[in-house]
């Protein structure tokens, strides 16, 4: 059984001129990048564009990669930046709508009526209302499941800053859910009544 080349070996080969070896790296990480982009709030039909941009940027900057941290950390950093750039570019199209009064006053039974797709859409909507600098650490910590030190590396910020941003992001999320989306709270609106 042939041994899979490591990331570092592949990067060295690409830098040495074997460009076609880059395809193995792309195939290895394309799911991670696409999923991260989706969780950062990129629409499903645009995830491919963002992933393409990420891997092209990675290729252009491959010589700058330092192997002291995992390639995935670097990929996350580039994905987060690419996703934010993409969203900024599309801001005029995807401006969040005002919350409809029916959603704001969703009754206790609304929780049961949600399909999982609808919950995901509403959660994306809630996250979209949290400012970018709070939302990104929140997504990395509670959706991607990254430890604090890795988030600090991805966002190139001190751990203390990440901690305080996470604290505020969680408080904002709770505030938004309690005020506008009570049925998204754990246990739905029943828990509140």
């Amino acid at each position: 059984m042939p041994i899979e080349p490591t990331d570092i070996e592949l990067i060295r080969e690409v830098l040495a001129g074997k460009v076609e070896r880059y395809e193995i790296l792309v195939r290895r990480y394309q799911r991670l990048v696409a999923t991260a982009a989706l969780r950062m709030g990129i629409a499903a039909h645009e995830v491919g564009d963002v992933a393409n941009e990420v891997f092209y940027k990675v290729y252009r900057n491959l010589a700058r990669y330092t192997p002291e941290h995992a390639l995935s950390t670097w990929l996350y950093r580039i994905t987060v930046n690419a996703a934010l750039d993409h969203k900024r570019a599309r801001r005029h199209e995807s401006r969040m709508e005002e919350i409809s009064p029916t959603m704001a006053s969703a009754g206790p039974s609304a929780h049961d009526q949600f399909s999982s797709g609808e919950r995901v859409r509403l959660l994306q909507e809630v996250l979209g209302r949290i400012p970018e600098h709070y939302r990104t650490p929140l997504v990395l910590a509670h959706i991607e499941g990254m430890p604090l030190e890795e988030i600090a590396r991805v966002l190139e910020l001190p751990e203390g800053t990440i901690k305080s941003r996470l604290f505020r992001a969680r408080a904002l999320l709770k505030d938004l859910i309690e005020r506008h989306y009570p049925s998204l709270a754990p246990g739905g609106a029943e828990a509140r009544s």
């Binding site: 394309q30 696409a34 092209y56 995901v120 969680r170 408080a171």
Partner: protein, 175 residues
């Protein structure tokens, strides 16, 4: 508004990581599967090729110029040497070219020196003016800051008074 301020000040209650984990659980289950390998590699190859073509085209021009120019130059030199005083003509031409180059360098150096010597007193004068007016600028800054604080206090008092004097209607009001 108040709650937002409390969150910003860090005084609002953090629901804790577990609560957030529970809320965001559906998003953790989302997956995307984009096959971008082929399109990325196409883009990579496309970005490589024009670069190589540009470099090749760029390096071709000096090569062609050298190939045409070198025989012409060598021919001219050979013709000069072959005619009677050719060698001395060549020597004189080289001396004249050297002299022109020397005059050009000397002119550039003199020009730069003139610019520096004329701009130095101006720079010194500007620095002296700034040194003189620095306390005035500091004083003006302090006065502006004090004026700003006073105007904030004044508007605060005016608004508080207006709020006290206004009547609240049945559907709410300022109160």
């Amino acid at each position: 508004m108040m709650k937002r301020l409390l969150i910003r000040l860090g005084l609002s209650r953090d629901p804790g990581p577990r609560w957030v984990d529970d809320v965001l659980a559906p998003l953790r289950e989302t997956r995307a599967d984009a096959d971008v390998a082929a399109s990325v590699m196409m883009r990579v190859h496309a970005s490589e090729s024009p670069g190589i073509v540009v470099i090749a085209t760029g390096s071709r021009f000096p090569l062609v110029a050298a190939l045409i120019g070198a025989p012409l130059l060598l021919g001219a030199i050979a013709a000069l040497v072959a005619s009677g005083d050719g060698f001395f003509d060549l020597w004189n031409t080289a001396l004249a070219l050297g002299h022109v180059a020397w005059v050009m360098v000397a002119s550039v150096v003199e020009f730069c020196g003139n610019i520096l010597s004329s701009s130095a007193p101006v720079a010194r004068a500007v620095a002296r003016v700034f040194e003189t007016i620095a306390p005035i600028l500091r004083g003006a800054g302090l006065i502006a800051a004090a004026w700003g604080v006073l105007s904030i206090l004044f508007s605060f008092v005016v608004f508080a008074q207006a709020r006290r004097n206004s009547s609240a209607g049945p559907h709410g009001g300022l109160r």
